[in-house]
Symmetry: C2
Subunit: 372 residues, 2 copies
Amino acid sequence: MEESAFPRRVSALKEKLRALSCDTIWVIQPENRRYLSGFRAEDSQINESSGSLLITQSHCLLVTDSRYATEAEAEAVHFQVHILKEGFVAGFCEAIGSIGTRRLGFEESFVTCALHRELLERINQMGLSVDLVPLEGIVEDMREAKDEGEIEIIEASADLISGVLDELIPWLKPGIKEKDVAWQIECLAREAGAEGMAFPPIVASGPNSALPHAVPTEREIQLGEPVILDVGVKLDGYCSDMTRTVFLGEPEDGFKKIYNTVRSAQLAALREIRPGVATDHPDATARKVIGDAGFGEYFGHGLGHGVGLATHERPRLSPLRPSELKQGSVVTVEPGIYIPGRGGVRLEEMVVVESDGPRIITRNSHFYDFDR
Amino acid sequence: MEESAFPRRVSALKEKLRALSCDTIWVIQPENRRYLSGFRAEDSQINESSGSLLITQSHCLLVTDSRYATEAEAEAVHFQVHILKEGFVAGFCEAIGSIGTRRLGFEESFVTCALHRELLERINQMGLSVDLVPLEGIVEDMREAKDEGEIEIIEASADLISGVLDELIPWLKPGIKEKDVAWQIECLAREAGAEGMAFPPIVASGPNSALPHAVPTEREIQLGEPVILDVGVKLDGYCSDMTRTVFLGEPEDGFKKIYNTVRSAQLAALREIRPGVATDHPDATARKVIGDAGFGEYFGHGLGHGVGLATHERPRLSPLRPSELKQGSVVTVEPGIYIPGRGGVRLEEMVVVESDGPRIITRNSHFYDFDR
């Protein structure tokens, strides 16, 4: 990421702040924090935060503790690093006191009830006059349309995982366990330079492929059955996410039709991806193809989601809460058909929403073209 | 884990429930959920929960969505699985309505402000008469003293990571990058049967070893400098956590004394581990040894922490908020000395608190005994 991205984003946030009913924005959500500051630390769990940003029209503070001091100074170069001495709540309240906060906007979906209560108690105890103002999706909205630097990194991340599948798929043989395939994917990804997996690889064979959320098991993959490979890596913080369904040998009865249907639904939905389209429209297009083929009840999830610093982020391509698709968003297009007890097929591409339509950034490979 | 563990734990929780000002306990924290029900699913992030438990004197419900239905039925065999149809808040409120909840105890440190607000709104909208009652540490307290089945698994987890270090340490050579050492640790752990890492391995060499929270870098490890290896795996859900500091060749000036001091502090603290001791006492013992050697200002963190389903859990062995050490707890004893810009030494053992004292379950190897 070029250095200038961070001050540009902070300026944009300050513009948004003018329209909000608060004078300070507190950012604790890890991807939002990284997006604005460049600070890379992750949180090991919700009550083990590695840092908070406090942004006003005149201050940019990164509040963290001594364990992260060195990284914070090196990474969040446009922020003043404030090291907590004696626990989060006391030090944090001191920090908001020092910058004159009166109305503190906080991320309602990421602050726990306990932390909220402890802050209020401490604020009262210190005699500060500070109100807590819940905010929702302010930075997430900014992250929805990617800038050029981000798109470059996401493309590299998608390219890396595409290469992993290029190496993996010819290596598959009947009798290999799902778990061993998953581990092979991790090894190939690391060798190719991934900093880690975006999520644990899904390797789901036979009846397991009917579970959209399958965890790899000891099951050995077999000839003729669907094997879903849903994988993604992180590269410089940015995620990729792609799915192929493969068959070793000739597909079992019925799966050619299922596969062709999913692929047709995907291609139809891809044609509807462009700026300004309602996010439920490509979903409806795919759903219609699948429904017309008689599999309507077997496509239970949404068509896709945004990908960036998080694997799942805005926008959501589903029938729920539609919004307008934005130029510069990166989204997945991943229809599926899942027959309980038998198996399923899912195909997933990543696309950049460009002014003249979609640009697919996962490698266009490992698709079958079965006779109809 | 033997099957009978789960109903026994639920019964113990129901006993505790009698003394609380609520009729239903809602458990959403992933390790607490697994501890009580056997349901293994993890949460990918705080606002993507894979399930909630609802426990009353007469009901045990696991509320989840269709993606997890199969696993939930298979794993949480003592719970009735309730599948959400149309979003969490609506389905959850329907569930608490169906079991007659009037006062719903919730985990204040794991429920976000947004979820709390949405629940209250829905409860009002449905005309239910339900109060939300914040709870803190109810299940965490139960998890503090482990039962026999848990101790067996934790021992196996500690044994596995000990074996990984036995293979790794002779393989180290000057010029290998920290990142490559970390990846080798992951590979050895998987080959040895770990289901995953308990946390990303820490491999910190030279000046990086002065950062207690170091992330592996491209730095090549060198002769004579300290190399901290802080590693742990998950086995059947249970974590291990151990640290060795190694030197390739003769340690640089001053590090023999630092090493000897840390090891003396560790041995002195271990002698103070037994049921009933205040948790700040072994910490003070180690701190005194380090202080007497002139390094008092360079031991910034607490002495140790409980280990179980989470890498960091109760009790905390530190000067803060002391409690009584319980028989059956599994804790780390990990003093360290960190000289900024130069390097550090940390040594970490895992011990079971038994009636007659500590039983060390990490393998007693890779310690130096430098001349004084």
